[in-house]
Symmetry: C4
Subunit: 194 residues, 4 copies
């Protein structure tokens, strides 16, 4: 099977996930600046989640770009990733509620779903590599292992930190996002040559 | 007509169905573990429905992969399938409400919609086979009749069981899901050769 | 410009329109058969609107199939059609509320939006024909004028009838839907030859 | 990388943005003409935002049509544009509430998001031009600079005007929309030759 429809379906689901989060930002009934400021936590958690889903879309895009064929197992590994990503609007909405960013449980739940997304993405990569032969581009991709290591460490740190100081936990999330937004020159050059 | 736009439209509808179900998981206002546990029934019914819609997307993918042309009747048979699938978020949301998994009616309604989806999928297959000639790949596909028989039996059993013991009914639903997630080696091999 | 992205965007909007209507079918809190029956008017208006959007998707599919190129005016004529179609969930939801199918205003509003969709579709066809030359397939399409005449008549009748007897008005809507679901053998044959 | 998936993802997000705004138009419980008239402000702000998102889709369509390749930076510039566009349903919903079109803050917020969309679109254009060589079609596009100048002026005027007279501010928004709906004969001719 070709990757065409898998990409189309994933694009659809990711486009919906990234957009429905904005529905949680309920327009305030009042018109004061105070009323607008109350939306700030929802806005910031929306922004953070938008960036995360954007990173996954970007990486998914790169991953599928080098993939030539898929089988049933890959379709399910992909659905597994989409499942965890689809929970981001839920944890985002819980985190965005008034003062919840100071509470351990919503912050830990947010981090847990992000961690599971990362695990699901890793599984998808493994399944793809197993299905292809040694000439598979994914094996030839310039390894940026340090990104994986640092972000895994930050994800795992973020969970217990949520019960000590939620701010430290949130800094971890922001840190991972920054790591992944940074352009990867070697990957870019590699993609261009393909 | 080619299948391209039928696939694109179906992908769109399935992507929306699978994603809007998560909107039913309202973030709790409290931050206690108890509050989170209350979301558990919604979460589990979401997970089950996610898998079901995933199975349909997978099978639809395979079905359209071997289809070369469509006509008006096929477009409507496909819309008929999408209609029943679009009711899954409704029955999922009813089933997911507090303690509803113990009530006959929501469980039976959930099973009825799943049964109608299976019927609609069967109709779509028939219409496709009728429109193509004997060389149509769907006729050459390795028949996995036992899956059809077992899942039909489980669907039909699940409806009366919902009025005796809802747990037995839910076991039927889970059973059908497991049957269809299992990889089909013969089908995979067949697809690869295509 | 090619029609590819216009089709993709229209498919996306139509897929969302057809699916978000189901969000109006709120799962009842109770589990009695009565509670389920209360959802019946919403369900029936959803079914009717699902069929209407399905018809428009079908016709749009056929229309774009024979179109080779688009310009800015066509993009706007298409957006104009999508605008009126996007109002269907609103009028459907108003019509579906308890006992509203007996009230003139919701029925008339429902009919008005359907009429405007038909007008917008007609405009899109005109703009397409003007942009193409005489060899354009739309000019060679077997004319099914009677469908246009009958459905226009029924739409125009439905509006005043809503203020006399809403049932007659609803019969008009159902009538138009039946006319357009019926397979068009000549069109099918023509499409196949293309 | 090719532009295919970037277009598909953007189409998905734009289709959702343009359609979920209609969800804000809650069907009134009553059936009086008065109840329907109360929806008028929501309807008008929906119409205005529909046209704006339509304009962005149109322009995005043209922009990607002449683009042959994308890199990571372009993907992020595109996501940045989609982020600001995704806030339109929020400001539209705030503006559409009862009497809010007379209030400075909702009008200014609406204008601010539109301004940021325009900025993000400009950034995307710059990033695209930087990535391509001098033969890039975007450099050869017939310059319609006056549109950019006039609409930038109107956007910047609209913000302070919202605190003097909201009506003047809204006239600015409508003015920009009219400028961009007008067909661009030179651009059309250029696109056709491509």
């Amino acid at each position: 099977m070709k990757t065409g429809r898998l990409e189309a379906f994933s694009d659809g689901v990711l486009a919906i996930i990234i957009t429905i989060m904005v529905l949680e930002m309920k327009a305030p009934e009042e018109v004061s600046l105070n009323a607008l400021l109350k939306v700030a936590p929802v806005f910031i958690s929306y922004l953070l989640s938008f960036i995360y889903v954007g990173i996954y879309w970007n990486n998914h895009h790169h991953l599928m770009h080098v993939t030539q064929k898929v089988n049933g197992k890959i379709l399910w590994a992909n659905l597994h990733l989409l499942f965890w990503l689809s929970l981001i609007p839920f944890t985002t909405s819980w985190l965005g509620e008034h003062q919840h960013y100071k509470e351990s449980l919503p912050v830990a739940a947010y981090g847990f779903v992000l961690l599971m997304c990362a695990v699901a993405y890793f599984v998808l990569e493994r399944v793809l590599i197993n299905y292809h032969d040694d000439h598979f581009a994914l094996n030839k991709l310039p390894k940026l292992k340090w990104k994986d290591y640092v972000s895994t460490t930050l994800y795992i740190l973020a969970l217990p930190l949520a019960f000590i100081n939620t701010l430290l936990s949130i800094i971890c999330f922001v840190g991972v996002a920054i790591i992944w937004i940074m352009p990867e020159r070697r990957l870019e050059e590699f993609m261009e040559k393909e």
